[in-house]
Symmetry: C2
Subunit: 201 residues, 2 copies
C-alpha cells in the first residue's frame, strides 16, 4: 500500500446529517416555529429546511450559518456531541506548530502540540531548545500543574529562582503558579516533553 492511512476512520456522514437534522427540528419545535416561519427568517426554502431536518440533504456552510441565525444559536451548537470520536493520537507528521502562539522570548525554540486540540483539558508540547536559549526574561506563571521530561540533551529549569539541572531521562513536576523559566546552557540541542494540566473548572 502506497498511501499512509488516516489517523482514524472517517466520520459516517449519513449519521451526522441525521443528527444535525434532528437538532434543527427539535430546536425549531422548542421555539414553536413552523417550517414556514423558519424558512421566512432564514431566507431558505421550506423544502430544503424540511430535507435537512430529515437528514436528506447535506447543508452548505452558508445554509448552516443561516439556520443558526434563525434559531439564534452559535453554529457550533450543531456539532456538539459528535467529536468525542476524534482520535486521541497526534501523529508526528500532523503536530501543530505553536511557534506563533508563544512569546517572542522563546526565540528559536520549536514548540509542537502533542495533544489533540481540545479546549480546557491537559495539553502537551514537544519542545526543541537550541544551545544558549533562555526564557528567564519572561518567566511563566499561570494556573494548573506542569510536568517536563527530557528526551535528549540537558536543560536548567528554574522554579522561583531555584535551579534544577535536568539531563536526558530526568523529569520535573511543579505547580504552574510558581514563576518558572528555563535555559539551555549546554552545547547540544535539548528536546523535551512538557505537559500542562489546567485546573478543572
Amino acid at each position: 500500500m502506497t498511501t499512509e492511512t488516516s489517523t482514524t476512520a472517517p466520520p459516517a456522514t449519513s449519521e451526522l446529517l441525521a443528527t444535525v437534522g434532528n437538532k434543527v427540528r427539535s430546536m425549531r419545535k422548542d421555539r414553536g416555529m413552523t417550517l414556514a416561519r423558519l424558512s421566512e427568517i432564514t431566507g431558505l426554502s421550506q423544502a430544503i429546511v424540511s430535507q435537512i431536518e430529515r437528514g436528506m440533504a447535506n447543508p452548505s456552510f452558508t445554509t448552516l450559518a443561516q439556520l443558526a441565525h434563525g434559531l439564534d444559536i452559535p453554529v457550533g451548537r450543531f456539532f456538539i456531541g459528535q467529536d468525542q470520536s476524534r482520535s486521541p493520537v497526534v501523529r508526528r507528521s500532523a503536530r501543530r506548530n505553536l511557534q506563533n502562539v508563544t512569546r517572542e522570548s522563546v526565540g528559536e525554540a520549536i514548540h509542537e502540540l502533542l495533544t489533540p486540540d481540545r479546549d480546557g483539558t491537559i495539553e502537551a508540547q514537544w519542545i526543541s531548545t537550541p544551545p544558549g536559549h533562555d526564557t528567564s526574561a519572561t518567566p511563566f506563571t499561570h494556573s494548573g500543574e506542569e510536568f517536563c521530561y527530557i528526551i535528549s540533551g540537558r536543560k536548567d529549569v528554574y522554579l522561583d529562582g531555584v535551579c534544577y539541572s535536568l539531563e536526558e531521562g530526568d523529569s520535573i513536576t511543579y505547580s504552574s503558579e510558581i514563576p518558572h523559566w528555563y535555559k539551555n546552557s549546554y552545547e547540544e540541542v535539548c528536546v523535551a516533553i512538557w505537559v500542562n494540566a489546567p485546573h478543572a473548572l
Copy 2:
C-alpha cells in the same frame, strides 16, 4: 409590509467563507501539511480544499466534517469568533421552550428561555406556574446568583425553608447555593421572570 422581520440582519456569507478558509489554511500550515496531504487524509480533492481555503467555495456539512477530522479539531472550531454578532434579543415568538430540560417535578409549569443561547453566561427564563404547582419535592441547589421578578399572580419562594410570599411586582435575589424551591398556593396562574448568573470561570 406583511412579513415580520428577522431579529437581525442575516450573516454576510462571503466574509464568513473567507474567514473559515483562512482558518483552514493556517491550521494546515501549522501542521506542516500540503494541500496534497490534507486532501489525502480527508478524502477530498486538492482543488476543493484550495478553493475553500481561498473563500471561493461554500463547503457542505460533510466536507466541513472531513476537514475537521483531517486537522484533528472539533468542527465547531471553524465557527468560533463569528457569533458575537448574534442578536442580544430573544423575540417572544422565538423563545425556546425548556419543558423537556427541567425536572419532572416541575409538572405543568412552562419554562421559556429569555437569553440568547450562549454558554456559561447569564440566563433568564420566563416561567408560568399553574395554581397548586409546587417544587418543594426537589429543591434546587447550584452555583451562582439568582433573581426573580413576579409579572402577575402570586408565588411563595422558599430559601432554606424560609417562606417569602411574593406578589405582582415583587422581586427576590439570593445565592443559588441556598436550597430553594417555590409553590403557587393561590388561585391564579403566576408568571415570573427568573434570572440565573452562574459564577464566572
